[in-house]
């Protein structure tokens, strides 16, 4: 017994196992290094075999679905050595990338082919923008389609958040900024002396109350009002069968379970719009919390991003949280299955289930009702669609929680504070924003963004025509 123990100790006295984690993190490298040596252990060989099988299977799958050229490579690779394995994997990856690019180009060409570009080719320029995340899926489409029309112009967009976008344009590190909320007074005062920043609505989104109540049929959409939502998010209404909710939903049997309140944890334009609506609807919310991208939520659980909020609602029965319309409309695998969303009452008294059409109607009403749209260089602080349509009883079909997202550009572009190096760059920037506002709007429908109505496009055009570079107006033609 003791002998056995001692022998096992001595046998392993120089035991050094697994000290090279890199071997296992980068298997192909490990393979190249060890293949000619005899010391490769059984497990490494096993893992390598599994890797090879996976690569070959993936290659074969793509080859069968794609062109014939990769098929031959796959056949040779099965029989032979390591170096051809790596070549297969690279060829596979390039194959997939070209496939996807072809797909996107066909998808978007149907959009752009209906629009005829009237502007001539612009000279080469690089344009940098930064700002909100709400518009990012749509912005990505615009970057691609605009580059198809203007191959000499390279537009980059950093989706860093509205606050950071405003900071960047204030410091002149980008050519245009983007924000889900208009600048505050403090943000306006932080702009360079003598500058004028223009605000251009480029797209819009809505916010819906999404919930997870087991047992309710998918076709049933609960009714909400701004006041009830505010009381839920203030912690005053805590159960689903609260008389205030029951009164709005007389035909639905509501459970007695507590409401699990969910909201965004990260700063977001979606929450700005939602809290703006609650501020308009409830005096206590206005006094206690107010309108903010990062409000101090009285109750509830913060989840990161739209995906996080959706995940938190999905995982928690009897939960309620605000979700962006674009997310709801493009995630039909979730909506109606584990998550459903409710209607919100507008001032005319109708309960509206958010659709792109209702959001567009709300935009149209938002720029005609209430406070006038700030023209030109007038500050936009405090202006919102939500405020303007909150008391609008003439438009019966508008969705009340609708918000613009804005592009920000200086009125007179120059090297001194807006970071412009040439007129070509200035022209490209204005052309890009005008493209987003005008032709680019049709690209939004597939991914859940409502198109700007004609009166907003017209107002944007007059704003953009104010932009000059060394005194010269940049927006010409249509």
């Amino acid at each position: 017994m003791l002998e056995n123990l001692l022998s096992s100790i001595f046998y392993d006295s120089h035991y050094t196992c697994c000290r090279l984690p890199i071997n296992h993190l980068f298997l192909p490298v490990a393979l190249k290094m060890n293949f000619n040596k005899t010391a490769t252990s059984g497990t490494t060989i096993g893992l390598v075999v599994v890797l090879i099988v996976v690569v070959v299977a993936a290659g074969a799958y793509i080859a069968l679905n794609g062109s014939g050229s990769t098929t031959t490579i796959t056949q040779t690779s099965v029989s032979t050595s390591v170096s051809t394995q790596t070549s297969v994997s690279t060829s596979v990856s390039t194959q997939t990338s070209t496939q996807t690019s072809v797909q996107t180009s066909t998808a978007t060409s149907t959009v752009t082919s209906t629009e005829t570009s009237t502007s001539a080719l612009l000279p080469a320029a690089t344009v940098n923008g930064a700002g909100g995340t709400l518009v990012f899926p749509l912005m990505s489409t615009w970057l691609y389609t605009f580059n198809q029309l203007q191959p000499n112009v390279q537009v980059n967009y950093a989706s860093v958040g509205s606050g950071a976008g405003i900071t960047d344009i204030s410091k002149g590190t980008v050519n245009f900024g983007e924000s889900d909320a208009p600048l505050t007074k403090a943000q306006y005062s932080a702009l360079p002396a003598g500058s004028t920043l223009l605000t251009v609505p480029v797209s819009a989104s809505g916010v819906v109350p999404a919930y997870n109540i087991p047992g309710l049929p998918a076709a049933t959409h609960l009714n909400f009002t701004g006041d009830v939502l505010a009381k839920i998010f203030l912690g005053q209404i805590t159960v689903w069968n609260d008389p205030a909710i029951v009164a709005l939903n007389p035909k639905v049997t509501l459970p007695a379970n507590p409401i699990v309140v969910i909201h965004r944890s990260d700063g977001s334009g979606t929450m700005y719009a939602f809290t703006n609506y609650l501020t308009d609807s409830n005096a206590q919310w206005k006094a206690q919390v107010g309108t903010s991208t990062t409000p101090n939520w009285p109750v509830g659980t913060g989840c990161k991003g739209n995906e996080g909020v959706a995940g938190c609602i999905e995982n928690n029965q009897y939960s309620l949280g605000p979700l962006e319309v674009a997310y709801v409309l493009t995630n039909s695998n979730l909506i109606g299955v584990s998550i459903n969303y409710g209607t919100v009452q507008n001032h005319a008294g109708n309960f509206i289930l958010a659709t792109l059409a209702d959001v567009t109607l709300a935009m149209q009403a938002g720029v005609t009702q209430g406070a006038a749209v700030p023209q030109g260089s007038t500050p936009w602080t405090g202006w919102s669609i939500i405020n303007n349509i909150y008391n609008d009883s003439t438009d019966t079909g508008i969705y009340p929680i609708t918000t613009f997202t804005y592009a920000l550009i200086y009125e007179s572009l120059s090297a001194s504070y807006a970071g412009f190096t040439s007129q070509a760059q200035a022209t490209a920037t204005v052309s890009f924003i005008w493209y987003c506002v005008n032709q680019g709007q049709t690209a939004g429908a597939n991914i859940g963004y409502a198109a700007l109505p004609a009166n907003v496009v017209a107002s944007d055009k007059s704003t953009l025509s104010l932009v000059t570079y060394n005194g010269a107006t940049l927006l010409t033609g249509s």
Binding site: Y15, C18, H24, G42, A186, D266, T294, G311
Partner: protein, 316 residues
């Protein structure tokens, strides 16, 4: 023709270049650390002067009204890190002891298991976060938190109705994330224990467990403590995984099943959406607190390790 004199001169020149290069590399670390500290203090100056010391124990964080206090985040960071160590340390020690002492006769078992532990350390934290949100959180809620709340709900630490996004789940995620680090370092430390230590015990008739407990672990304790501090450092600074599952609420609750917040989660959530310069400054001050906390942990750990190793030398 190259004379020997030239070769000699060239060698001296190369040595000096190398010396200069490595010295510059070493100094750059010090400069970087100091510059980081200065920049953090500089960035948080406005917040420091506005709120002063109460920033550390004020529990309101309201960007909309420009009121900032960091207590909920400090509390959340400490609570989740404590849970992580409480759960992670015993498991890590178990893994390390198994790998270094028990799996010795079975090379392949130790090899595969050891590699897997190291692979776990290489998983990006955002993946742990997503997995935590979609898999761990609902399962912990149903099978661990709900029964604990039902039967032990009278205890303040289990008093909140669990929803699966809380200090407890964040602590578990952190425990999983620090286990590979702590286990891998502890295993190396245990492997480094001289066999004479073990042999002496065996010769006295000790069992395998007694050898580990009375000889191997005491010998390796300073190293294990160092490994634990490495793990604690990771737990305190970990951001993405925690942000997904902590619930991001600025309320402070004694219940482990309540929603909380950590310093790093606050920074990643709010840094992109600062509405005023004071707001930005307050976020930088939170970063400063995190920086300070990490420094204190490391300095404390160094002192402790030094004290322990000196004690060991005296005993020997």
């Amino acid at each position: 023709m190259i004379s020997s004199k030239q070769i000699g001169r060239r060698r001296v020149g190369g040595d000096q270049i190398l010396k200069g290069a490595v010295a510059a590399a070493a100094v750059s670390i010090v400069v970087l650390l100091i510059a980081l500290g200065i920049e953090l203090i500089n960035g948080s100056l406005q917040s420091l002067t506005t709120f002063g010391f109460p920033f550390l124990y004020s529990n309101t964080w309201d960007p909309n009204h420009n009121i900032f206090g960091a207590l909920p985040f400090i509390y959340g960071t400490l609570v989740t890190s404590a849970i992580a160590l409480l759960i992670g340390l015993p498991v890590s020690l178990g893994v390390a002891i198994f790998l270094s002492e028990k799996a010795k006769g079975h090379r392949s078992v130790g090899y595969v298991l050891g590699s897997l532990v190291e692979l776990l350390a290489a998983v990006p934290s955002v993946i742990f976060g997503l997995w935590g949100l979609f898999v761990l959180s609902p399962n912990l809620k149903t099978y661990v938190e709900a029964p604990l709340h039902e039967y032990l709900g009278f205890l303040p630490i289990f008093s909140t109705t669990p929803i699966g996004l809380d200090y407890f789940v964040a602590g578990i995620i952190l425990a999983i994330m620090i286990i590979p680090t702590v286990a891998a370092v502890s295993r190396d430390v245990l492997n480094a224990v001289p066999n004479s230590q073990r042999e002496a015990m065996y010769s006295l008739g000790a069992t395998h467990w007694e050898v580990i407990r009375k000889s191997v672990l005491p010998y390796a304790r300073s190293g294990i403590f160092g490994a634990t501090i490495l793990g604690l450092g990771r737990a305190v600074g970990e951001t993405m995984a925690v942000t997904f599952v902590i619930g991001n609420s600025t309320a402070i609750s004694p219940s482990l099943f309540a929603q909380g917040y950590t310093l790093s989660a606050l920074i990643v959530n709010q840094v992109a959406e600062t509405s005023t310069p004071l707001n930005a400054s307050a976020i930088v001050e939170v970063a400063l607190i995190l920086f300070g906390l990490a420094l204190v942990i490391n300095i404390f750990a160094r002192l402790f390790v030094v004290r322990l190793t000196r004690g060991a030398r005296f005993r020997a």
